[in-house]
């Protein structure tokens, strides 16, 4: 077992425990904090996959913005669901069953695929990848249209969020 595999296994175990805690912990603030740990684990996976740019983006966007937004929302709506009462639906076992069945299906499909246990090829020019990604996102014959659509979506989401959550003056 190489050092890389050891790091992977440790990070995977921590991330999965944190992810399960996100969906099972009773206190919503605790859920948000566990979510931050999960997102950090995913960022480490990006580093292991030679996508360092995505690890940085993960920390900035997910942990810096989205997780903080979750904590704010949990604080703003805290009074109603204090830590009393059940946090899950009465038929939670049915949801668990569906999740297990989905995992069994995904695992079945993956194991029958012949490229399942392939190893990583040598990455050519690893330091020029950010440059390549930036050029691909703005060049006309590659991904400029999805990129601009994502910008429009973000602006629309921002305006919509301000409009929906803003105080209405009658």
């Amino acid at each position: 077992m190489t050092a890389e595999q050891l790091i992977f296994l440790i990070v995977a175990a921590v991330t999965l425990v944190a992810g399960i805690s996100v969906v099972t912990s009773r206190n919503l603030i605790h859920s948000a904090l566990w979510l931050i740990l999960t997102l950090f684990g995913v960022a480490i996976f990006y580093v292991l996959l030679d996508a360092g740019f995505f690890a940085v983006i993960q920390v900035i966007v997910y942990i810096g913005a989205i997780a903080i937004l979750f904590i704010f929302a949990a604080m703003l709506t805290r009074r109603v669901m204090q830590d009393t009462g059940p946090q899950t639906n009465p038929n939670w076992w049915f949801g668990g069953l569906i999740a297990l069945l989905l995992f069994a299906g995904i695992a079945f499909v993956l194991i029958n695929w012949q490229g399942f246990s392939s190893l990583a090829p040598e990455l050519a020019n690893p330091s020029g990848r950010i440059n390549q990604l930036g050029l691909a996102l703005v060049s006309l014959d590659q991904y400029v249209l999805p990129f601009e659509l994502a910008s429009v979506l973000l602006v629309a989401g921002m305006i919509g969020a301000i409009f929906v959550a803003g105080e209405k003056k009658q």
């Binding site: 992810g19 919503l28 999960t38 996959l49 929302a73 703003l76 899950t88 990583a120 973000l154």
Partner: protein, 102 residues
Amino acid sequence: MIPLSWYLMFAAILFCVGMYGVLVRKNAIAILMGIELMLNSVNINLIAFWRYRSSDGIAGQAFAIIVFAVAAAEVAVGLALIISIYRRRSSVVADDMNMLKW
């Protein structure tokens, strides 16, 4: 060397955990957290397939960037909706949001 299967199995487990959260939790904010877990596992899959199967191109990374943008927009709008509903009905339980049901 880490085989591709490890990443795929990890992403599958994380996706199922997130889906369990979406299906089971009562609090709408917790449901959004489950959606975040699912989006993250999809992103791991995209980057892992880019690294292991087509690392000459850049398509997998471009897809992942789009997923990031969509996730950010989705969380902003979703939490705004939840706060707005909380203001009107003093509830964040998904079962109580039945104003459109008849």
